[in-house]
Symmetry: C2
Subunit: 243 residues, 2 copies
């Protein structure tokens, strides 16, 4: 028997124009920061934007956006609350601060449930903060969400890019479109990541310098919008509309 | 029916004195670097040491140690080859550079297989580079390996520690001993992590400064041993024998 929720997911997302999965393969590369800044920056330009945190491993966008004590409304499903002008949904609404040691199959189930119950309504963009790795969550998103495109974040490190390359290889093999690679946390410029991305036939979107002030902006979106990091994201990702 | 491999795993590890899982919950905190430096540093002191890379998400120790073209011998199981004096085993011996988009249950199975076939023989220490997250791999290691203890790595970031705290809570709940927390990649000292660790009743082992030279030591163990980072690990973890 087919899971009846699978068919609902398509309907839940049918009014969303662009679905961008911010992903990295590797953890700790600033993926959640990029996803949050991208969502805020698109909203600032007048787009309607949703942000969905599916990083079961280490959800962070609620800390970045300073979301506290907020709970989504229920009405024939879950309506994502407005947070700094974004429609926002996160697994932390349900797991709170408890450890969630989910087995792979349970992660799949939780993602399906979250996608099936959330009513996104009309949005120009839905930005998804993905879990690291090439595991269940990544495979599910590709399988379940029509038209999903990936924005891939890496650091300048060879070790990080080794993992990012595996993600790119997997996406290519599954014919999933990739917007491009953002090189984050750059301390001294080297052409390494650009060269690798070219070899992997992936657009290199540019470098974002390491920003030591970022930690202090946690929870304060106004301060985040004033950082060099935020302005770099605005500049590198002015528009990521589908063709 | 019980998986017959589960009983073999105990026998495979019965000659290993100390089993230390280097873990973080959060990715990208330098876990693989800490695991590699710890293993090399214990060996330097005259101990017999094994290093097992179970980070299916983004294996890195083979890059750090410069392992290339090496394959383990088979003889009633798999004998981990000697790499810079360490008995070394990694999932990359089998997955090579291919993406391994494993579902949770497959990850479990691959870990069980790897633990069941590997003959560790007599070792003072086995250091395990764990995958990030609280998923299948972490749960399996706790379930399958008697006497395992966790060394937890974090960065100074509040976002990183949010995830680390979930790992610590889970370990406490499952009665798994924790050696302590290492604060890695410190750029400007703050008492934040130390204070958090104290609140979580976990030993704070100390801070390791961010070392910009580390990236250039990849693949060169002699250069790694000469870094400030390596000396910090030696100093903070002089001995992690069980009581």
């Amino acid at each position: 028997m087919t899971d009846p929720r699978l068919e609902i997911i398509g309907r839940r997302l049918e009014k969303v124009g662009n679905i961008i999965a911010v992903s990295s393969g590797k953890g700790g590369v600033g993926k959640s920061m990029v996803a949050s800044a991208l969502a805020l920056s698109l909203k600032e330009k007048g787009h309607s934007v949703g942000l969905l945190d599916l990083d079961f491993t280490s959800p962070s966008t609620h800390v970045i956006l300073g979301v506290e004590g907020l709970l989504p409304e229920e009405e024939y499903g879950i309506i994502p609350p407005l947070v700094h002008g974004l429609r926002y949904m996160s697994i932390t609404f349900y797991s709170l601060d408890k450890p969630a040691p989910l087995r792979g199959a349970d992660v799949s189930d939780a993602i399906i449930e979250l996608l099936a119950i959330t009513r996104w309504e009309e949005l120009d963009y839905l930005i998804i903060d993905m879990p690291p790795g090439l595991g269940d969550a990544t495979l599910d998103m590709i399988r379940l969400i029509d038209g999903i495109r990936f924005l891939v974040v890496t650091t300048p490190s060879r070790v990080a890019y080794e993992t990012v390359r595996k993600l790119l290889t997997l996406l290519r093999r599954l014919n999933v479109p990739v917007v491009g690679v953002v090189e984050n946390m750059v301390m001294k410029p080297s052409g390494y990541i650009k060269k690798q991305a070219n070899e992997d036939d992936t657009a290199y979107l540019g470098a974002v310098d390491f920003d030591t002030e970022l930690e202090e902006t946690l929870g304060d979106v106004d301060r985040l919008s004033a950082t060099m990091f935020y302005r770099s994201i605005q500049r590198l990702l002015p528009d990521i509309k589908g063709s």
